[in-house]
Symmetry: C2
Subunit: 278 residues, 2 copies
């Protein structure tokens, strides 16, 4: 029985990513157990502590950028490895029992869902209160009971909760997609094409960031992404998350890692993995 | 008359940064006009279009990281320059007419305010609904009317709105501070010590990020920060915001900028400015 943690309840985009994971890995729904958690850190901690086999969490949206809670939890983790990445197209619907937009007073969604529909909301529901919930589906039980309330979630969520969709799609950018990470304590089973690292730098060292970047530049190893997160110690100290377009076992890579260790404070290899675009 | 746009209403941390700006620049409150705006992009647009002289906006918090709305608006801007940066310590208070924590059902604050007190909220108000508002002070008129409601804002906000503080400080990290940018259409009047740039890269060019970073590394020009934001075109395309510990007129810099232009798609020099820590 493979147990999978995701940001629930049922009907979230994280659950959709988890269902894609089953298909991609030829897993049987009868021998897997889907475990919804109410926050991203809780889902990641469940995998970290062995309560589940893997956690599937969003890490980056094409419009809103990095999911900071996932990056911060990954940095805290002692044992998790990225096993796969799954890129899912995101199309939001406005789910409500109201028959007109004018009747809607409150809109519930995850902060990322609200942000991804901000222009649409400013234009069509300028006076409605926007309430951020832990997941896109958290507000659906209120939508079921109150005609003046709406939620922004997937069409699948509307079907699962048996609620009507008033408008679809309402995301500001048609090419909205989110990258999810599959995190587990074992090595990935599929051959890696990309790698992710994270490192902090020694305090107050001038030129500190130049050196780790040179390690890659000198070897023509291409970085596809750099994201900085605060160390939470003081302003101006960062943890850098780096995505590399090569597996860890690529030529030059082990030498690069060795050099990287010398010029960073704390270095984590988050995994070598394949990316699947749905 | 100097007109100053900030994220209002009165009592926000942005207003506190604006008041610090007056002091730092020996400006008289009688010859300045403070103009509150209800969103960060609106405040930035007011300065961009000449409706005000300057806008003062948060760009980075030591715990939560970059303020994505500010970075995205800066990238869109055609004419704004960073004139100064002001680092302000942030200490949040729980403002409510409730006499006990148990009586509080809803907590209002800006999403960053909620995030900076997340552990405190999880521990002390685990069942209260958290509602994200446009600014920390937006919820205070509801706090005034409803004893079951609280807001997270500054102690100064509590005084201005004549409301009681139940708990202070409630931020998870004692060293919580936010960096604000002073944006205007003219060149800065104080001598710059730091510079900020932003650039996008040509589409799908392998190794594209290595080249601009090498431009700085080759000249031992130290980057104090890199932050990536999505271009919103497609996943994997980024705008990079770079802070440099040198003014634009430093030795090597003009040569570096020339080379940078050759290896980037679109390059914006956001300004050379002094940083004031309060």
């Amino acid at each position: 029985m493979t147990t999978i943690a995701y940001l629930g309840p049922v009907g979230t985009y994280s659950e959709m990513a988890a269902l894609q994971y089953l298909q991609l890995n030829h897993l049987d729904q009868n021998t897997t157990q889907m475990c919804p958690y109410s926050t991203i850190p809780q889902a990641i901690n469940a995998a970290e502590h062995g309560n589940v086999d893997i956690a599937i969490v969003p890490v980056e949206n094409s419009i809103q950028g990095g999911v900071t809670m996932t990056l911060d939890s990954l940095w805290q983790s002692e044992s998790l490895q990225i096993q796969q990445a799954i890129v899912l197209p995101i199309a939001h619907s406005l789910i409500t029992r109201a028959s007109t937009l004018e009747a809607i007073k409150i809109v519930y969604s995850h902060a990322q869902g609200l942000a991804q529909c901000q222009q649409w909301l400013d234009h069509h529901l300028p006076t409605a209160q926007q309430v951020a919930t832990n997941s896109t589906t958290d507000g659906l039980h209120i939508v079921a009971e109150d005609d003046s309330v709406a939620a922004i979630a997937s069409q699948r969520a509307a079907e699962l909760y048996n609620l009507p969709v008033l408008k679809y799609p309402i995301n500001d950018q048609p090419d909205n997609c989110t990258r999810f990470l599959v995190l587990g304590r074992t090595a990935p089973t599929t051959k890696g094409t990309h790698s992710s690292l994270a490192f902090s730098l020694k305090r107050n060292l001038p030129g500190a960031l130049v050196k780790p970047l040179l390690v890659f530049a000198d070897r023509q190893i291409n970085l596809s992404r750099i994201e900085s997160r605060p160390t939470k110690r003081s302003l101006g100290e960062y943890i850098f998350f780096i995505d590399i377009e090569a597996p860890v076992d690529a030529p030059n890579f082990s030498e690069a890692l060795q050099q990287l260790r010398a010029v960073t404070e704390d270095l984590k290899i988050l995994g070598s993995y394949a990316i699947f675009e749905i």
